[in-house]
Structure formats: structure tokens, C-alpha cells
């Protein structure tokens, strides 16, 4: 219990140092573009593969489960689109990103901590928390929604490809299904969730990296902790946000 309160307190104090104005605008922008590259572009591949296959599997399973002739096959398109937008893309892909991006952030910052690079920044008079963590948070907040939108497209596309290939559902039915009762609000809902999750991933990983003490072994532990705790928080906030936004 004491440890929990201590961790939360330390996290809040760190965030107060993170969310300040960068000392040098130009350096911040350069950093931000680097992070787009490292945290965004480099995640594109895994996001694309997982989303496409996920959409395909959802579509196939739905198609097989419809055995009543009373239910139109266009329900496959409907179900695939709804589940990809509501849950699979924002939540599952965010969990994947917590693993990929979170461990990267924690190990990068943790290594800088144990090799005294953070001390070196502090000695020069640089606010190391802001300098290191802020660009990563901003990058995640901006790039994760883009990744999720791409993931949604690819998920729906994956379902369509699977239906075409297997001949289970015709293209017309599938596309018609996607548009049944389509409410743009659910995309908005997906993006709100994504932004929350992005914040969790970047700040939790930044925190565990920043407070690392020791050596290479502890850096590994910090990155594991970052992944575990950000995943738990994502699942928890998924429940809370779903309650708030959909009821």
C-alpha cells in the first residue's frame, strides 16, 4: 500500500516536470519528428499485419456462425466493422503498442539513467524529464490515433479479402453490411480511447524508465514493468471509458 502511494506520488511529481514548456523550441521539434519515426513509422508494419489478420478472422468466424437463412450475410460486414472499430483496433492495437513502444521508451530512458546521461543533462541545467519524456508523449498522442485509423481500415479490408477469397459473402453484401446503422460516433469513441491509451503508454513507460536505478538488469526490469502496468491500466481504463462513453 505504501509502495503504491509512493509510486503514484512520484509519478505525479515527475509529470509536473514533464509538462512544462520546452527550453528550446527547435530542439523539441527535431526530437518530435525523430519520435514520429521511432514510435510511429516503425510500428506501422506490426499494426498492419495484426489488423488485417484480425479483421479476416472476425469476418470468417461471423460468417460461419450465421447458420440461419433468416439472417442476411451482410451481417458479416456489419459485425466485422463494429468489432474492429469499437474494440479490436483501439484496445488490442494499443496493447500491442504498449508492448512495442512502451518497452522501447522505458529501456531507452532507463539506459540513459543508469549510464548517467540523465545526470549529465541535469548538470548542464536541462530539465531532463521534459527534454526526454515530453516529445515522446506528444508523439504518441498524435501518432497513435493515426495508427488506429489505419488499423480500422485494414481490419475491415482484411475481412473483405477473407470473404472474397473464401466466397462466403459477396462484396456487395459485405460493403452493404458495413454501412448498416453506421454511426460516426463510434469512430470518435475509438479515437478518444486511443488518445487515453497513448497517454498511458508514453507516461507510464517514461516513468519506469526515468526512475530506474542500477544497471542493465534493472533496465530490463523497468521495461517489463512498463509493459505490464501500462497494459493493466489500458484494460482498466477501457472498462471505465466504455461505461462513460457508451452509456
Amino acid at each position: 500500500m505504501y509502495k503504491f502511494v509512493h509510486t503514484v506520488g512520484q509519478y505525479v511529481l515527475l509529470m509536473r516536470r514533464v509538462f512544462t514548456r520546452p527550453q528550446r523550441g527547435k530542439i523539441f521539434w527535431n526530437h518530435l519528428f525523430d519520435e514520429f519515426q521511432h514510435l510511429g513509422l516503425e510500428s506501422l508494419g506490426i499494426v498492419a499485419i495484426i489488423s488485417t489478420f484480425m479483421g479476416a478472422v472476425v469476418a470468417i468466424q461471423t460468417a460461419f456462425n450465421i447458420d440461419s437463412p433468416l439472417i442476411s450475410m451482410s451481417m458479416v460486414g456489419f459485425t466485422t466493422a463494429q468489432s474492429v472499430i469499437l474494440e479490436f483496433s483501439p484496445t488490442v492495437i494499443s496493447l500491442i503498442l504498449a508492448g512495442k513502444v512502451g518497452s522501447r521508451i522505458a529501456s531507452e530512458i532507463g539506459t540513459m539513467r543508469v549510464t548517467e546521461q540523465i545526470d549529465a543533462l541535469e548538470i548542464m541545467g536541462v530539465n531532463s524529464a521534459n527534454y526526454l519524456i515530453f516529445p515522446k508523449v506528444v508523439a504518441c498522442l498524435l501518432i497513435n490515433p493515426v495508427l488506429i485509423v489505419i488499423s480500422i481500415w485494414l481490419g475491415v479490408l482484411g475481412g473483405w479479402i477473407a470473404m472474397e477469397a473464401s466466397g462466403l459473402v459477396t462484396t456487395t453484401d459485405y460493403l452493404y453490411g458495413i454501412r448498416i446503422d453506421f454511426d460516426p460516433y463510434i469512430v470518435f469513441y475509438a479515437l478518444i480511447k486511443t488518445v487515453f491509451f497513448a497517454y498511458i503508454i508514453a507516461t507510464v513507460a517514461g516513468y519506469y524508465g526515468y526512475v530506474t536505478e542500477g544497471g542493465a538488469l534493472e533496465v530490463g526490469q523497468a521495461s517489463t514493468k512498463a509493459v505490464v502496468y501500462s497494459s493493466i491500466l489500458i484494460i482498466l481504463f477501457n472498462l471505465i471509458l466504455t461505461q462513460i462513453l457508451l452509456t
Binding site: 545526470d119 549529465a120 541535469e122 548542464m124 541545467g125
Partner: protein, 251 residues
């Protein structure tokens, strides 16, 4: 000049520093020596404010560093250069970017002026034409020299070096020591060096402070250290095979 006044620091139950009073003079290489674990690094980190002292204060030319807030400290920090035990180069930047980093962060110089300055300090540490190398491509001695170049790029008034020559062969270690001493005299700055290497002590110890079990146990010059009768210091100085043989031969 830097003064430590009654510095105490403990971690949990471990009293690491006990009432350290010490003056580090300008234009001299002031050494802090002592066994591994005696508190040298902790003392240095207290002096630069990476650790907060439990009691006591640190004065930089009569400016009370310990009572300053973050913004006031930032000013003083720009007058400080520090060389860390492991170099602490930014490993995602090449040599030039490392040395230029403080200039980018804190000055409004043009690119050309900054590059001039970088080349000047790199030349000072005998590392011309290595601007494009990454830290991973450097040898231990080169890393230390790049770190020195970065530490002096802003023309510091105070230079801190934590074990500048640990992990280096005796000759390279000597080169680093001499470099630190030359820079200190040339720019008339206050330099503090942590070391447990007797070679360094005897070659550059203008003022030597011996820390024993968290206390300032002995102070003197490199010449006085060989004549001392202080038991603990003698154990430290003549603690190795080589030095003890030399001592027997002398007497």
C-alpha cells in the same frame, strides 16, 4: 572557489557523509581520494546538487547553492562542467553533436560559431577530425576526452571529474590527468577530481582531501602525502604491492 560547509548525507541508516568541511580553491586541481565506497561520488553529487544534502551548505564563490531554487541553480549549472565516471556521452549523438549540445541548448550562437567552438575544444583534447564518430565507435580514452571537451565547451568556471581515468591504461590515464590540470591552470577554474589512483594523486594533486568512512580524514598536498604519519592514509597510499615495496626501499 567552492566551499563545503558541514555537509551530511545519509541513505536510510547508512551515514555516507559526516560533517564534511572543505575548501576547493580556484586554479588548482583539488582531489578527493578514498577507498571504493568511501563516499567520493556522493560528495561530488552533493556539491553539484544531484543529491540534496541533509544538512550543511555548498558555496560557489560565496553564492549559497544549497538554498537556491531550481531556476537560480540553472544559472550556476551553466558555469559547471562535469565529467562522469562512465563518460555519460549521449549515445544517440555523434561526437560533434555531443560537444555542441550545451551550446545548442543554452546559447544563441550561429551554426558557424558553434562549430568553431566545437572544433576548438576537440582540438584541445587532441581529437581533431573525429566529429562524425558515434560514442560506440570510440575507445575508453577517447570517450573520456570527448566528455572533457563537452564539459569545457561552455567555458565553465567549475570543473568536476569523477574518476576521470578509471579503466584506462596508466599512460592514457596520465594524459587525461595532465589535460585536466592544464585546462585548470589555463582557464583559472576551480577543479575537483575524484580518484583512487595514486599515480594521479602524485602527478596532479595540488590539494588532496582524503575521505575515510565518510569523514574528511586528512588534507594536504601531493608532496605532504608521502611524508604523512596518518595510519589510515598510509594504508591507502601504500596499500598496493608496488607502493609498499617502494616505501621499504626508501626507508
Amino acid at each position: 572557489m567552492i566551499e563545503a560547509v558541514g555537509i551530511c548525507k545519509q541513505f536510510g541508516d547508512n551515514m555516507v557523509l559526516k560533517d564534511i568541511n572543505c575548501v576547493f580553491e580556484k586554479g588548482k586541481t583539488n582531489l578527493i581520494i578514498g577507498q571504493s565506497g568511501s563516499g567520493k561520488t556522493v560528495l561530488m553529487k552533493c556539491l553539484v546538487g544531484l543529491f540534496e544534502v541533509d544538512s550543511g551548505k555548498v558555496l560557489y564563490d560565496n553564492r549559497n547553492f544549497s538554498s537556491m531554487n531550481t531556476n537560480q541553480r540553472k544559472k550556476i549549472r551553466q558555469e559547471i562542467g562535469m565529467l562522469f565516471q562512465m563518460g555519460a556521452l549521449f549515445d544517440m549523438m555523434n561526437v560533434q553533436e555531443n560537444v555542441m549540445f550545451p551550446l545548442n541548448m543554452f546559447t544563441d550562437k550561429t551554426e558557424e560559431e558553434k562549430l568553431d567552438r566545437v572544433n576548438f575544444v576537440l582540438k584541445r583534447v587532441n581529437l581533431e577530425n573525429s566529429n562524425a564518430l558515434m560514442p560506440s565507435e570510440l575507445s575508453g580514452g577517447m570517450r573520456k576526452r570527448v566528455a572533457i571537451a563537452r564539459a569545457i565547451s561552455m567555458n565553465p568556471q567549475y570543473l568536476f571529474c569523477d574518476e576521470p581515468n578509471s579503466g584506462l591504461d596508466p599512460q592514457t590515464a596520465g594524459v587525461i590527468d595532465i589535460l585536466i590540470q592544464e585546462i585548470t591552470r589555463e582557464y583559472d577554474i576551480t577543479t575537483i577530481v575524484n580518484t583512487h589512483d595514486m599515480n594521479s594523486v602524485l602527478s596532479i594533486g595540488d590539494q588532496v582531501n582524503f575521505i575515510y568512512k565518510g569523514q574528511l580524514w586528512w588534507q594536504g598536498t601531493k608532496d605532504e602525502i608521502l611524508e604523512t604519519t596518518n595510519t589510515e592514509l598510509n594504508d591507502f597510499v601504500f596499500g598496493t604491492e608496488l607502493t609498499s615495496r617502494l616505501k621499504t626501499r626508501r626507508s
